[in-house]
Assembly symmetry: C2
Homo-oligomer: 163 residues x 2
Amino acid sequence: MSTSALPYRPHNHDACVAQALADARAICQQRNARLTPTRERVLELIWQSHKPLGAYDVLAVLTEDGHNAAPPTVYRALDFLQQHGLVHRIASLNAFVGCTHAGKHHNGMFLICRSCGNVLELTAPNVAKAVSEAASAEGFQPEDVMIEIAGLCPACRAGAAHD
Amino acid sequence: MSTSALPYRPHNHDACVAQALADARAICQQRNARLTPTRERVLELIWQSHKPLGAYDVLAVLTEDGHNAAPPTVYRALDFLQQHGLVHRIASLNAFVGCTHAGKHHNGMFLICRSCGNVLELTAPNVAKAVSEAASAEGFQPEDVMIEIAGLCPACRAGAAHD
DNA sequence: TTGCAAATGTTATAATGTTGCAAATTCTTC
DNA sequence: GAAGAATTTGCAACATTATAACATTTGCAA
Ligand SMILES: [Zn+2]
Ligand SMILES: [Zn+2]
Ligand SMILES: [Zn+2]
Ligand SMILES: [Zn+2]
């Protein structure tokens, strides 16, 4: 049994953000992709917590920043970040979350707490294997696997028990 | 190796629809839920093919029908159908598809062909088990599992090979 | 038949996401 | 360094998806 994973345990979140930004810079440099100020700022905002953030929430902060931003500004930045595997879109929430496996090619599996909103990204080889086998059995060739699981995180389960 | 599953093989689709409607009637009767004409018509439209249908597509047909319908008409019918497990919402497409396991309590796993648009709903026990184990390992209590896999169905793989 | 709950009609509005084009910036090549 | 190409951004309008709020009707039961 493992110690609980990042979003679920108290941690220095500023370090999360710093690490994510540093990784992003390294990845973009390596790929000759341009992590422009707007893109970097959007990534920073997405990482402000482990809760997914909506595009229009990002837009609101950019506007507060004094940035003259419109929806395309945000969606373009998010597209860029997604393409480079720096953020993921959570389809069931229409929102975006920082990728905790940036750089590696992967399809995440997301545990979404319906109580606190935190999202944990996992890569579960057994799940990937089972999915791949199930698809193959039907002759289906998977390209993009999206797994989003809503439920209760450990902290919120504990909290709920105290009610 | 199995014979290919329903949406992938030529079949009498009218029979699909008829069966789905018959099942729906039975399920609703058994639960004292009212499958009103609007709800039944929406279900029938959703079942018009194995491709997911958007809410506003449904709305357009209802309007053609002469039904004085507005968005809430459709969304309410879809909510009802979802609650009774008669349709599923495909989050990655903002669209709805008929459930092929109606009545049974389940979370489907969807194989979505990016070429033809057909969707196959599976229940893969191995996947469910792996997901459940991966979540448990993090102390997470899953409630709603959403698995949507985009790729190529057997027919479209074959077609693509001929290009 | 009267009263209640469920379902529907109706209008407006919120939330999310896209298109198209022009201006500015950055990169490349000479 | 300057010209030209490609990428990025600004900006306005628009498209799509979904919900809120409240009045009205319908089905059912006491
Ligand atoms: Zn990731
Ligand atoms: Zn939680
Ligand atoms: Zn069919
Ligand atoms: Zn189903």
